[in-house]
């Protein structure tokens, strides 16, 4: 039987690990048991900033039975290695945020361990702490470096200052977004085995095996082959398991090394919410020059994000937010000045969208204000400024693909029945005192892959190996975290080799066994890693063809036979593929100019809302998400990504409020951190347009982060259309709306 005719890419093929997940057979890190395994716990700073005076082990507990680890037990460098290595693995003399890890405990009895955790008293002399971006910028205290600034960027195109004098209108606005909790289903967890002979091995819930690997090398001062990182089944990540698992792996390994036992360290929900990374809060200021016809003449944008106490990934989050700040519009004069500042919050981190949801929220709210100022409808203002083929983005990137944002907008407004609804809602609102209906949209883009030169520096490698039976195994460090990696990479390989989907499998991500295909982040797995899988697969075939074992047109049986003969002769059949930048892609890190991303996904999202004036609650009644994403590899999975992202972004816009109290998250339970349930969500109607991208596998681009960007501004634009009141901060809770309306 041959599948030569069947298209595999573009089909909604069943998830590779779907059956195991729904039947409960899948084994997550907390399901794994090792002989003589102990349990670990983390004792954390109760306050945001101070000098550690003493650590006491109180109470009537058998302390001699416990393994106790502090900063003194670290043999290598006391850091969680990432970009700047400024974050300690365990706080030594000072703490810089609440919940910062100070002491680690391990014991065979996990219940006694909890008693012990409560009985460790860390005495800290408080130092003044910073909790707002303004305080950080005003340097009311210096808490990091010389000036509390992790990173600044300047993107400049043309010269905005030449334009102000001649503009018909200058429109200003300020926009704020809050922190957002990740809420992956499975909280963080790691198991470690570690000793001088074998080195360090960890199993865990994580996105980026080689990030953890790098962090453990530094922490233990070991050679690369003495550290091994294995991904266990992972119940969601969203970016929340990009950097923090390096910290937990370090903790579990330090305990295991000292205890001489395997140690399992699992966070419960409360600990995960309080201690691990959230989305960066932001503030954006816009100053826009526009002429009477609605042409954008100059966009001057200031973008600030709160990085928390350590640098972690803030510089790259800032970079993506900065580049996306000017959106999918052609404007000759753009200036984006951005800063990531330090506060004494737990470090904010990678989270789906990675800075773009923040700056896009600001822009898409602001453009509605610009439209109102000029006297144009919001869609008309955008039409007059959309990017077209041949034009350049804020970083001077020339759009080389066929881009039809006008068409995309027209279709989205049709799908949502926008114009008819606008009229109907106006009538409805005139006669209804308590229920106000509105409709709004946002137009945006999201770049796939690492920003700028990122992919060149990563030099990702993918391997693929055939067995004597002709089955094929993909070797990547890219992880399945619920988003469908295993399935789409298998589809891509099956398509490239014209094999059955069932013949493809993925090796467990294990740094001892798979090459470094880069981190599972930045909407890069499908477009970048998928393309490498495609070329490695074609390499396999090429090897067989060149050996004379296969012709270009082959049946499954011929394939199997060829593999069997080749392996019998050569021992193994493997092919590797390494990232090479597509031609014509250049980025200048000094000037922040050039091709920021290999490709962008483009989208128009439309939200319909009802605002209830009895309770000030906003309900999203309908949601249309239309996007152009290159080629859709698996329609069901792709739609699932969009629906999930939209749901998450509805939470971001209307429900999810982190209640801070001197740098500690007060509502670290799902009872009081309000994530929307299915009851709170509208039908999410997902539509794709396909415009194949030359350098993506079968033409695919990235989609993972995209749906996080558009919903919040679309919803707030809809609220403005419902009640005529402009609100520019999220989350927009009923309490805030009440205040604004009765101000």
């Amino acid at each position: 039987m041959s599948t030569n005719q069947t298209q595999i890419v573009g089909q909604s093929i069943q998830r590779k690990e779907g059956r195991d997940k729904v039947t409960g057979a899948m084994r997550y890190v907390d399901d794994l048991l090792f002989p003589e395994m102990w349990f670990g716990a983390t004792v954390r700073s109760p306050i945001a900033r101070g000098r550690i005076r003493s650590i006491e082990f109180t109470g009537n507990l058998p302390w001699h039975e416990f393994t106790i680890v502090t900063a003194k037990d670290i043999s290598g460098q006391n850091c969680t290695a990432l970009i700047l290595d400024d974050q300690p693995c365990l706080a030594d003399k000072f703490v810089n945020h609440a919940e910062e890890p100070v002491v680690l405990l391990a014991h065979p009895d996990k219940y006694l361990l909890e008693e012990a955790r409560r009985a460790v008293k860390i005495d800290i002399e408080p130092l003044p702490a910073l909790f707002t971006m303004d305080d950080a910028l005003n340097q009311t205290e210096i808490i990091w470096g010389d000036d509390n600034v992790f990173k600044t960027f300047l993107v400049e195109k043309g010269n905005v200052d030449d334009v102000w004098a001649s503009a018909d209108f200058i429109v200003e606005g300020e926009y704020e977004t809050g922190a957002q909790e990740q809420l992956y289903i499975e909280p963080n967890g790691m198991i470690a085995m570690a000793n001088a002979d074998d080195g360090v091995t960890v199993w865990g819930s994580l996105q980026c095996p080689y990030y953890v690997h790098k962090a453990l090398l530094k922490l233990f001062g070991l050679p690369p082959d003495k550290v091994r990182v294995i991904q266990a089944a992972t119940g969601g990540g969203f970016g929340g398991k990009e950097e923090y698992p390096s910290m937990i792996a370090g903790h579990a390994a330090l305990l295991a090394w000292k205890a001489g036992k395997p140690v399992k360290l699992i966070y419960d929900r409360a600990e995960d919410m309080a201690a691990t990374t959230k989305r960066h809060p932001s503030r954006t200021r816009h100053r826009t020059a526009v002429n009477k016809d609605g042409k954008l003449l100059a966009m001057d944008i200031e973008f600030v994000i709160d990085g928390g106490a350590y640098a972690t990934l803030s510089s790259v989050v800032l970079s993506r937010g900065t580049i996306h700040a000017a959106g999918p519009y052609a404007c000759d004069n753009v200036r984006v000045r951005s800063k990531a500042v330090a506060t004494n919050h737990p470090p904010h981190g990678a989270f789906r969208g990675f800075g773009a949801p923040q700056s896009i929220f600001a822009l898409e709210r602001h453009l509605n204000k610009v439209a109102a100022t000029v006297g144009l409808r919001p869609e008309e203002l955008r039409r007059r400024n959309f990017l077209h083929e041949g034009q350049t983005t804020a970083t001077g990137q020339v759009i080389r693909e066929k881009l039809d944002l006008d068409g995309l907008l027209t279709r989205a407004l049709e799908l949502s029945d926008y114009h008819a609804k606008k009229e109907r809602f106006a009538e409805h609102n005139a006669t209804n005192a308590t229920q106000k209906k509105g409709i709004g949209f946002a137009t945006f883009l999201h770049g796939a892959g690492f920003t700028g030169s990122g992919e060149r520096f990563l030099e990702s490698v993918v391997g693929i190996e055939a067995t004597a039976t002709g089955n094929v195994c993909i070797l990547v460090a890219s992880t399945e975290i619920g988003q469908g990696t295993n399935t789409i990479l298998s589809q891509i390989a099956a398509e490239a080799l014209r094999l059955d989907y069932e013949m493809i499998e993925l090796a467990q991500p294990d740094t001892a066994n798979v090459p470094n295909s880069g981190p599972t982040v930045a909407s890069r797995t499908c477009m970048i890693v998928g393309k490498l899988v495609e070329s490695a697969a074609l390499g396999l075939k090429q090897t067989l063809v060149q050996s004379g074992l296969l012709t270009d047109d082959y049946s499954l049986d011929e394939w199997r036979q060829a593999c069997a003969i080749y392996i019998a002769e050569h021992g193994a059949l493997k092919s590797f593929s390494k990232y090479e930048a597509p031609p014509n892609i250049f980025w200048n890190d000094e000037t922040y100019q050039g091709d920021a991303y290999g490709a962008y996904a483009w989208a128009v999202y439309v939200a319909e809302v009802t605002v209830n004036l009895v309770t000030y609650e906003t309900r999203v009644d309908d949601f249309v998400a239309l996007q152009e994403v290159g080629k859709v590899i698996n329609p069901v999975l792709a739609a699932g990504q969009i629906e999930g992202g939209v749901a998450q972004a509805i939470g971001y816009a209307l429900y999810e409020n982190v209640v801070w109290d001197n740098g500690t998250m007060r509502n670290n339970q799902m009872t009081n951190y309000i994530m929307p349930t299915s009851e709170d969500l509208p039908p999410i109607r997902v539509f794709f347009e396909e415009n194949p991208y030359t350098y993506g596998p079968s033409g695919a681009k990235g989609i993972g982060e995209l749906p996080m960007d558009g919903p919040a501004p679309a919803i707030l634009n809809a609220i403005e259309s419902a009640i005529g009141v402009r609100v520019n901060c999220i989350p927009l809770l009923p309490e805030t709306l009440m205040k604004v309306m009765n101000a």
């Binding site: 309770t615 429900y655 009081n672 009923p734």
Partner: protein, 293 residues
């Protein structure tokens, strides 16, 4: 699980008499454990201070719904699922059924009990305003005997109740007198499901020709306990429903409520929205305050 489990004890007495004996012999040592939907949350978080519990789950004396011409009596262990599916409760006590349907999720409704909701005494508890406007009575039992008390005076302060430590709530009796009244309730939670109330209302009224002949109002999450608003009721009785009445009622209500800022909402929001809920109820039964509700 943050609790140290070996420190906890759960007894399962064979019958009610044995349970009451345990409570009587060592007053304050044993506490009832009903559905556990409040207690388990504290246990998981390592915040359950009390250590010794008596399970009530299997005691038949605390279960069942019995009916006479004058009243309906619910065993304290009646679950939210049982409340919602009972035909007479559905017909005559819709506010209680509605509150039950708002409570947590199906799993919680299968396990959580009305007795537990009362004794947990949260100001945000959803079924308590309904019990207040239905003028429920509670049967309290101990080894010393049984007594009936009015539910109106049961909550005496934040988590304070007119119940001795050797007593259990055995039953809740609802008089069948309000069938002909207009009945209304609404929960404003933090989201549509799995939500704690930020403010909720239960209201009964007899209204004829736009005049309020009688009215009972109760709110949740606006005071240290569920609150029957007798002063606002007094302002409204015998009044015609018009803008002036609604305005007076709003001010009376504002004087009666003592909401606070907490992790879920603000005092300001609770106060204003409570007034809006009252206005919505009155307007919905009188003047044309707004067209579609």
């Amino acid at each position: 699980m943050r609790a140290y489990l070996p420190a906890y004890d759960l007894q399962t007495p064979a019958n009610l008499a044995e349970a009451l004996r345990l409570l009587a012999d060592a007053p304050g040592v044993w506490k009832p454990f009903a559905g556990g939907t409040d207690l388990m949350v504290l246990l998981e978080a390592g915040k359950l201070a009390h250590k010794q519990f008596i399970s009530l789950w299997h005691l038949p004396e605390l279960r069942g719904i019995s009916i006479t011409d004058d009243s309906i009596t619910l065993g304290a262990m009646t679950t939210y699922s049982q409340v919602q599916t009972h035909p007479i409760l559905q017909r005559e006590f819709p506010l209680l059924c509605q509150a039950a349907s708002w409570t947590g999720s199906v799993a919680i409704q299968n396990r959580g009990t009305i007795g537990g909701n009362i004794a947990n005494a949260s100001p945000a508890a959803d079924s308590l305003p309904a019990l207040l406007v239905y003028e429920a009575e509670l049967e309290l039992v101990s080894a010393r005997g049984a007594r009936w008390v009015s539910y109106q005076s049961f909550h005496t302060g934040y988590k304070q109740m007119a119940m001795r430590s050797d007593e259990l709530i055995k039953a809740i009796r609802l008089p069948r007198t309000t069938n002909q009244w207009i009945q209304h309730s609404r929960k404003v939670g933090t989201r549509k499901a799995q939500a704690i109330s930020k403010v909720c209302i239960a209201a009964l009224a007899k209204i004829e020709n736009n005049t309020i002949h009688d009215i009972r109002l109760a709110f949740g999450s606006v005071a240290p306990g569920p609150l029957r608003c007798v002063q606002t009721e007094a302002v409204l009785k015998s009044r015609a429903i018009d803008d002036a009445t609604i305005k007076d009622a709003r001010s009376a209500l504002a004087a009666e409520l003592t909401p606070i800022d907490d992790i879920r909402s603000t005092a300001e929001y609770r106060l204003r929205v409570a007034g809006n809920l009252l206005a919505e109820f009155l307007a919905g039964n009188g003047i044309d305050f707004h067209s579609d509700r």
